[in-house]
């Protein structure tokens, strides 16, 4: 059933390309075999038995049924359950207003931190960075963030400590950094130890042991957008040889 889709995996598709699923001619003897539906990720839209591409990019597949379009853009649109780096812009009453790079500022309640109660408020000032995830993110409502997961634990989220530098990169680079087997991450590991926080809204926070190293990593990451893989490996190799 997915044969037409599977042929196109790894190819460039344009918005408007369609895939139609024909219904099976044979009738199954057993009733509890349900027809398989594909799970559509970003860039694909499903209506009835048609699958339409809505963003240009490369078609990717994860077995058994998941398909999505791998596209490149800079502007972030909030989506549920994505972890982002936000900048606190104001405190009003019980909530913080956080800028995440989208069209609206998101709201973050002060109770949405691990171990926070009405008496024990979290230590967040205007201008601080927070790493949080979206609980509400659709086009009709104001986005909402929380710094705890479902069971009430922080799980790596919360307010940032001091130091480090914040960069803005494209969303494609961010997804490549967060992929399970990431070339860029393994290349970075060879260089020197550093702390990296990657937000899905295109913001990366870097901290290394010296300011010089932090600046080097930030310039490398920003240039990775426009370098092909061999060029990037060449850059990293030059740095390693050059020493610091």
């Amino acid at each position: 059933m997915f044969s037409s889709l599977k042929e196109k995996i790894g190819e460039v598709l344009l918005p408007g390309d369609e895939f139609v699923f024909e219904s099976e001619d044979t009738i199954f003897l057993t009733d509890n075999v349900k027809p398989e539906r594909p799970v559509c990720g970003p860039g694909l839209r499903q209506s009835g038995n048609r699958l339409v591409v809505s963003k240009s990019g490369v078609l990717r597949h994860k077995p058994p049924h998941t398909f999505w379009m791998d596209s490149q853009q800079w502007r972030y649109v909030p989506a549920k359950a994505e972890t982002v780096i936000g900048i606190v812009t104001s405190k009003s009453g019980d909530i913080f207003k956080v800028d995440v790079g989208g069209s609206e500022q998101a709201s973050l309640s002060y109770l949405a931190f691990e171990g926070a109660t009405k008496r024990n408020r979290p230590n967040v000032q205007v201008g601080d960075l927070v790493f949080a995830q979206f609980t509400v993110a659709n086009k009709d409502m104001e986005p909402e963030l929380v710094c705890i997961d479902g069971s009430g634990r922080a799980n790596g989220m919360g307010v940032f400590g001091g130091g480090g530098l914040l960069l803005k990169v494209s969303l494609g680079l961010v997804r490549r950094l967060l992929a399970p087997q990431s070339d860029i991450r393994s290349d970075l590991e060879q260089l020197f130890p550093c702390e990296l926080v990657v937000g899905m809204n295109g913001r990366i926070w870097v901290r290394a042991s010296t300011i010089q190293q932090t600046l080097i990593i930030s310039n490398l990451l920003q240039s990775c957008d426009t370098l092909t893989a061999p060029q990037r490996r060449e850059q990293f190799r030059k740095l390693q040889k050059g020493g610091l």
Partner: protein
């Protein structure tokens, strides 16, 4: 729209980096970003790239009545437009504080220094003078708009050519560029502004701040100078206290930078002149930087061609009858149009019977025939 707020950690990092004499892009304290000057196809159109900061200056002129208290001088008018293209915080049409400040600085730098000879712009004393208008548009803001704008304005003024004018007694004739070559403005000297950003109450200074450095700076010192080491304008903003030897040191740095930049401008003007003479391509399209994102680069892919012929014939069958083979007459019957000859019957190249000096006569080779006037007013076709 509001700009992205600056987080505390970025501010602290930048200040600490400056204390260790490190800049974000690896420059030294007194280094300028890469300055690139290109010209458009018209005279007086100039693009300046200072790193990622990009501005465009366009010079134009028209004949107006002079000011009453200066009947023998031409008029110079400067305008800097902060377009929303440059930064999300710039609003179209609204006079922000930054826009007023930049306009005022550019005027002080170029008008009060008398770098253009305004007496030569006078045509008829007391009645007609040339008004030269410089419009600077900001295309991208990555810090230090003032320096980029001053370089763009003075380069565009040097590049500009105004129409030639002849006065015979009472009659004034303005020649079009085709009749007589336009003449350049008389520029005495080229004032260039150099900006210094101060941090930590004047302890550290940086030349040519980029946008993030501008957001954390305490104050800004702008020195406009020409290559003869004459200071045309000094302006300090931000309310920082500067010592006398700091200002002297800045002016020494500025004179070095200004002579380098003036050299660059003269070289760019020479290159453009040579390119125009040789007939090469010049203009905006040639100067566009080619930035490609190679993150999702693919090798050549085959195009699906299996059912092209089927869909093609299907479209033809569905379509209406074919259009008529004859081409309707291209002559548009409106006032001001005449028709010369019968038009071409075939597209073959016939012998040229006209001389080729006139470049406008490129279409059609026809024999000398009389002009058929379709309407009373016709434009004369020069042969």
């Amino acid at each position: 729209m509001k700009e992205t707020p600056l987080s505390n950690c970025e501010r602290d990092f930048l200040l600490r980096a400056i204390e260790e004499k490190k800049r974000l892009d690896g420059r030294q304290t007194y280094d300028y970003r890469k300055l690139k000057i290109t010209f458009g196809t018209d005279y007086g159109c100039c693009f300046v790239d200072l790193g990622q900061t990009r501005v465009m200056a366009q010079v134009s002129c028209e004949l107006v009545a002079p000011k009453e208290n200066r009947p023998t001088e031409g008029i110079l008018f400067f305008n800097i437009e902060l377009s929303p293209m440059a930064s999300p915080s710039f609003e179209q049409g609204r006079q922000s504080e930054l826009s007023v400040k930049l306009n005022r600085q550019l005027e002080r730098c170029l008008r009060n220094s008398k770098c253009i000879d305004t007496e030569s712009l006078c045509v008829v004393s007391g009645e007609k003078v040339w008004q030269v208008r410089v419009d600077v548009h900001t295309l991208n803001n990555d810090g230090n708009l003032m320096d980029a704008a001053s370089v763009a304005a003075i380069t565009a003024l040097c590049h500009f050519r105004r129409p030639d004018v002849a006065i015979q007694g009472e009659e004034v004739t303005v020649f079009s560029p085709e009749e007589r070559d336009p003449i350049p403005l008389s520029v005495y000297h080229m004032p260039i502004s150099v900006s210094f950003a101060f941090f930590q109450q004047g302890t550290f200074l940086l030349v040519d701040p980029c946008e993030r450095e501008e957001r954390v700076m305490d104050g800004l010192l702008m020195i406009a100078m020409n290559k003869h080491r004459e200071i045309c304008s000094i302006q300090s903003s931000g309310g920082i206290m500067l010592l006398k030897d700091q200002v002297m040191r800045c002016s020494k740095i500025a004179s070095v930078k200004v002579s380098e930049i003036t050299e660059l401008i003269s070289q760019a003007l020479l290159n453009d002149k040579a390119a125009r003479k040789a007939g090469g391509k010049c203009g905006f399209a040639e100067s566009m930087p080619q930035d490609r994102i190679t993150a999702l680069k693919m090798d050549q892919t085959d195009v699906e061609m299996t059912n092209v012929s089927q869909t093609g014939s299907g479209v033809i069958l569905q379509g209406d009858e074919a259009p008529p083979p004859t081409v309707p007459s291209p002559v548009v019957p409106v006032p001001g149009v005449g028709q010369v000859g019968q038009g071409l019957q075939s597209w073959g190249l016939e012998e040229e019977e006209e001389d080729d000096d006139d470049e406008e006569e490129e279409k059609g080779y026809f024999e000398e025939e009389e002009v058929v006037i379709l309407y009373p007013e016709t434009t004369e076709k020069s042969k």
